[in-house]
Amino acid sequence: MLGEGILKGMAVTAKNFFGSYFSAERLTTVEYPEQRIAPFEAARVFPFLVFDGADWEAGLRCVACQICEKECPPKCIYIEKSTDKKPDAVGKLQFYPARFDIDISVCMSCQICVEVCPFEAIKMDTEFELSTDDRFGGLLLDRKQLAKSNEYYHQIHSTEAAGVDARLAAEKAKADAKAKGAAAAKTAAIAGEGA
């Protein structure tokens, strides 16, 4: 019969209308500033730079390879590569970003920078209350504002961070083994020469 669907729909909305006054579990929203929902682990908003250790400037994993800058679809990342090299957390000499800015008014939270980074240096943050009264400077985050510790990363994305740590440790172990092997070969060679 024509109009049956309309009546059914009206019944559903009427049930919602009156039901929402009687059962609190019907209400799907929370009153935001006072009530908050615990963030989901998979939540991601804007990227940040991970650093190891206590000193953010020394511990930045970023080596200014500029892959993320090139891959960024809206071109919101600005990197200036350093002219000198500094030892990173492992002690290896690396370039570092003299300047690393992300314009979050341009960023579209696509996570492509995170996917392309070979150094696990850039990750997605869950911080979303970023409103500011300065729409130019306030939304252009420099590397100091972007740097966040690995502990913080563990806190917001624990599963993902554990995976990243395991991967980095494996890589380091491999590199160490290789270095050890190379050193052993070298000493063997020296020993051979001496003999």
Binding site: L2, I6, G9, A14, G19, L27, E31
Partner: protein, 391 residues
Amino acid sequence: MIETCDQIFVLLQHWLVSFLPASWQPAAGVLLSVAAIVCVFPALFAVAVLLERKGLARIQNRLGPNRVGPFGLFQPIADAIKSLTKEDIVPQSADAAVHFLAPVLLVITVFMGFAVLPMGRNMVLVDLDAGLLLYFAMGASSELAVFMAGWSSRNKYSLLGAMRAVAQMISYEVPLLLSSVAVVMITGSLSLTKIVEAQNHYTWGLPHWYIFTPWGFAGFLMYAIATTAETNRSPFDLPEGESELVAGYHTEYSGFKFALFFLGEYVAMFSISGLGTTLFLGGWSAPFSFLTWVPSWIWFFSKLMLSIFVFIWMRGTLPRLRQDQLMNFAWKFVLPMCLVNLLAAGLWRFMGDGWLRWVVCSAILIAAYAGMGLAEMRKQRLGPRSYRYAE
């Protein structure tokens, strides 16, 4: 006492006017009534907007606005301040004069409709013999305002919205008029006060409202559909379809002019609900004979608010139609139903009292509804969408 309560506004007007010299009294009386109408309906608009926001929220299992004042009751005041303090932007290429006139004309034509609506016993601004005609004339001229707004903005969305609005309003004007014609046929008068008087009788405590007759019920349904389309309300809100046209014909309006459009839309809703109340729901008459002691204006305004609630309820339920569905519905279903309804009303008028006319009229209308409904629904063959040029 009951009589005084019922006539309180009329008496108040007479008392206020009595301070003036006799030659000024008629003009002053009219001015006072106009002032009352111009104050009451915008106030009702504020209430309705809050009701709508809260009602829609509850329909969607949300809380709705609850920040300004207790339970968000002062939200309309905040909204008003916001819209009044906003910058009034006129696009550079807009036709400035027409752009300015459109909201003014809309509000004027919309308020003119109240001139002939009886809002209570003896509470009608001008008791015209052709009141219904004046009402529809004013309703039709609001389309002009809508098109002026869309045309003068020089914006493709505005123009598309205005085109849709004109097409829709003219299509639905026809069933709107035809469903009211049935009432005029039975009453034998175009005067709205006479139409209310004709319904203000009771048998066994029940009123003789036209909605309680087969032709009146069908007419009311058709009228309700047509009014929803006339006032551009969901599911017929294509002229302002947010998802495709930004805001339709008032895209380029901001600040107070936008507020005027918003006001005009809601006041049009009140006025057309008021007319529906007058035509089919007995206007200001009480729903039971033992309730006749309640002042007549209370009944009028409660019926009005009830219609507004149904409008909100429908908006919360129904999705927007497509343009072709809208047109097909108007010309292939509502219009034929209205014509059949005219036949039923004619039979009702000339078959005399008795049960036979109930059976005959109901049978005709139900058969027409079922037949047309079946015909409409059979044609729905949904398959994969095919394109002529793309692919």
